[in-house]
């Protein structure tokens, strides 16, 4: 799994490439936590999931954990480029209720 992050104003865009499961989710958690520590002004976490071909409950758990952190500070979380398969698992887990899904980065940035 490869994770890239980019800060755009108060947005942190996290691009994930690979599978988010028990093996890889600690890396996601540690990297996003470190970036949120580094950039204290972030209020919008955007997950770009275009290259994510698998998420299970371990992956959903670390996404939920980051939502809890960002929402505690009054921020929001969004996901972009979400496949139908991922959308379904987000829906089953209840994550769709707490985060917005946008088609692409521009839409996510425009709507915040």
């Amino acid at each position: 799994m490869v994770i890239e992050t980019e800060r755009v104003g108060t947005n942190l865009i996290v691009t994930v490439d690979g599978e988010l499961d028990l093996e890889t989710s600690p890396e996601f958690r540690n990297l996003v936590e470190a970036k949120l520590d580094q950039y204290q002004t972030i209020t919008h976490l955007i997950l770009d999931l275009k290259k994510v071909n698998f998420i299970d409950s371990s992956g959903l758990g670390v996404i939920l954990g980051r939502f809890k952190r960002i929402s505690q500070d009054g921020g929001r979380m969004s996901a972009i480029n979400v496949s139908d398969q991922l959308k379904r698992i987000f829906e089953l887990s209840g994550l769709l209720k707490i985060m917005n899904i946008y088609n692409d980065r521009k839409q996510a940035l425009d709507n915040f």
Partner: protein, 149 residues
């Protein structure tokens, strides 16, 4: 009729969750599963093996036994561990119940939702066995087409 089977043992390491997914999805592709069904199977096996790594052997590495079979067009997946077992299966099956923070308690829910059948048997300090079964939805459709040719 038993058409194919596979038996595999591996240690309860996080990197073996992806390995189990790969083995099971490759094995399952011998049946007429749709891509969406294969995705469901991948999630179910991922949850079953992750549970062994996290819960069955919390402080050590133990053995996970994986058995796959195809019999009369039905895929059966058996995941067995020899770990600590589950004290209260009813409680474990409740959605969002989890013994650990940052875990969603959805593993068993996904396994039940994504497979046709899921059975869990467990004895404290002896281990847990999960049996999951799934049959391709479109198997009958294809059989119909084959018959009409």
């Amino acid at each position: 009729m038993l058409e194919n089977y596979l038996k595999l043992e591996f240690p309860s390491l996080p990197q073996n969750v992806g390995l189990a997914r790969l083995v099971v999805s490759t094995f399952a592709s011998q049946l007429e599963f749709t891509l969406a069904e294969v995705e469901e199977i991948r999630v179910a096996i991922s949850e079953a093996v992750s549970n062994c790594v996290i819960h069955a052997y919390p402080n050590k590495t133990g053995t996970i036994k994986l058995e796959l079979s195809i019999e009369d067009g039905l895929l059966t997946i058996v995941v067995q561990d020899y770990g600590v077992g589950i004290q209260d299966i009813m409680q474990a099956k409740q959605a969002t119940y989890s013994t650990q923070p940052e875990r969603m308690g959805l593993g068993l829910v996904f396994m039940e939702s994504f497979m046709d059948q899921m059975e869990l048997t467990s004895k404290p300090m002896e281990g847990t066995t999960v049996v999951m079964k799934k049959r391709p939805e479109r198997g009958f459709v294809n059989a119909g087409f084959a018959g009409s040719n």
